[in-house]
């Protein structure tokens, strides 16, 4: 896994990605021992999400090229988020924002989405209880309860939430979205519950830099936990002590 995490930003095709991952993974398994467990993933129908899992993302900015927008496009395609040609009010679940760095990269772009805080300010301020955190750490909006007051948008330090200003069409069955409610990245909860990767991660691994790792931070053997242990990573505005699910590697 490590060599895969360490790789530079060359075009990452899926085969080499998997190849690297598999060779590293098999090193950790004792000879003759088959390690077969899907501990953190498979949940039976009818079973609740539990705090055994804590879903997270690790984004390696060194592998995230400036100008690449694949994760944003994949996210919006997956969740039926459409532009009305009005960038100021269009909903955005992921934004590529430009931040100032130092030395070799004086300026670079990072993708910012809902950071899935352990202590989410959006949940604290919500007057109706619509803004909520699932047991496995995914922060969501219950649009049946949302009154569109937008307190959560003000409370969020990451500007991660969007208000839906216009009538929606072409929603996906798993991502209902309607005018007058607030929405944000769901970490592709419908996919996670089906043992699949979030759309942005899948796209990034297949077609872009392979900068994103998704997994269970609580599971010590997951790729994301290993990468987090091996390399330094940062939370944006870590000083707020919100304990984010989304971590970044390579930001100063």
């Amino acid at each position: 896994m490590n060599d895969n995490v360490d790789r530079k930003c060359e075009p990452c095709d899926r085969r080499t990605f998997l190849g690297g991952a598999i060779s590293a993974a098999s090193l950790t398994i004792a000879p003759g021992v088959t390690l077969f467990s899907i501990p953190s993933f498979a949940r039976k129908p009818g079973e609740r999400a539990s705090n055994v899992n804590r879903w997270g993302l690790l984004i390696d900015i060194n592998k995230c090229p400036d100008g690449c927008n694949e994760c944003v496009k994949a996210c919006h395609r997956e969740n039926g988020v459409k532009s009305h040609g009005r960038p100021e009010t269009d909903a955005k679940w992921i934004r590529k924002i430009t931040v100032s760095g130092s030395g070799r990269r004086p300026e670079f772009e990072i993708p910012v989405m809902c950071q899935h805080c352990e202590n989410p300010p959006c949940v604290d301020v919500c007057p109706t209880g619509a803004s909520m955190k699932r047991a496995d750490g995914i922060v969501l909006v219950d649009k049946h309860t949302c009154i569109g007051c937008r307190y959560c948008m003000i409370a969020c330090p990451y500007k991660a939430r969007s208000f839906v200003h216009e009538k929606t069409t072409g929603q996906r069955s798993f991502a209902p979205r309607g005018k007058g409610t607030v929405e944000s990245c769901t970490l592709c909860v419908h996919r996670v519950d089906q043992n699949r990767l979030p759309a942005c991660v899948e796209r990034c691994q297949e077609k872009a830099g392979g900068a994103m790792i998704f997994g269970d931070i609580n599971d010590k053997n997951s790729a994301i936990s290993k990468a987090l242990r091996k390399y330094p990573s940062k939370e944006i505005r870590g000083d707020l002590n919100l304990k984010l699910g989304v971590r970044y590697r390579g930001i100063p």
Binding site: M1, G46, L140, D142, R172, T181, E202, I213, F214
Partner: protein, 129 residues
């Protein structure tokens, strides 16, 4: 159950039959309780993460699909939409479809994205397993 006119014609709304042989519950039960079970399950799915329940709006929409003149499913703005056929008759407005889509998903997932192999790295498995 339906009230009939003297000439035998139904007074009730004209309802398009679903694709399946039977509904997830008795029709009589569904007529009275569909909104409650839908809201209840929707809440459990969103807040608790419970998947795979019987009363899913998504399943209603895909089973009770009504083909339009072009062969494509009709949306809620058509009078022939399954939900509308009854709700118009009973003069009960619904706002489900301001957020939910009233036609089934066009499945655009490629086979590749559903392939489990992409998940292997963080399951800690090798390709053979």
């Amino acid at each position: 159950m339906m009230t009939q006119l003297a000439n035998g014609a139904d007074l009730g709304p004209e309802i398009f039959q679903g694709k399946g042989s039977e509904c997830v519950a008795e029709s009589e039960f569904m007529r009275i309780n569909h909104m409650n079970v839908l809201v209840h399950q929707g809440e459990e799915t969103l807040r608790e993460g419970i998947r795979g329940g019987n009363f899913s709006l998504k399943e209603c929409i895909s089973c009770h699909v009504v083909p339009g003149d072009d062969g494509k499913p009709v949306a809620f703005d058509s009078e022939r939409h399954f939900c509308r056929s009854c709700h118009d008759y009973a003069a009960v407005s619904i706002d489900c479809f301001t957020c939910h889509n009233s036609v089934p998903d066009v499945e655009e997932f490629t086979e590749k994205s559903q392939n489990l192999s992409i998940m292997l790295p963080f399951l800690g498995l090798t390709e053979n397993e």
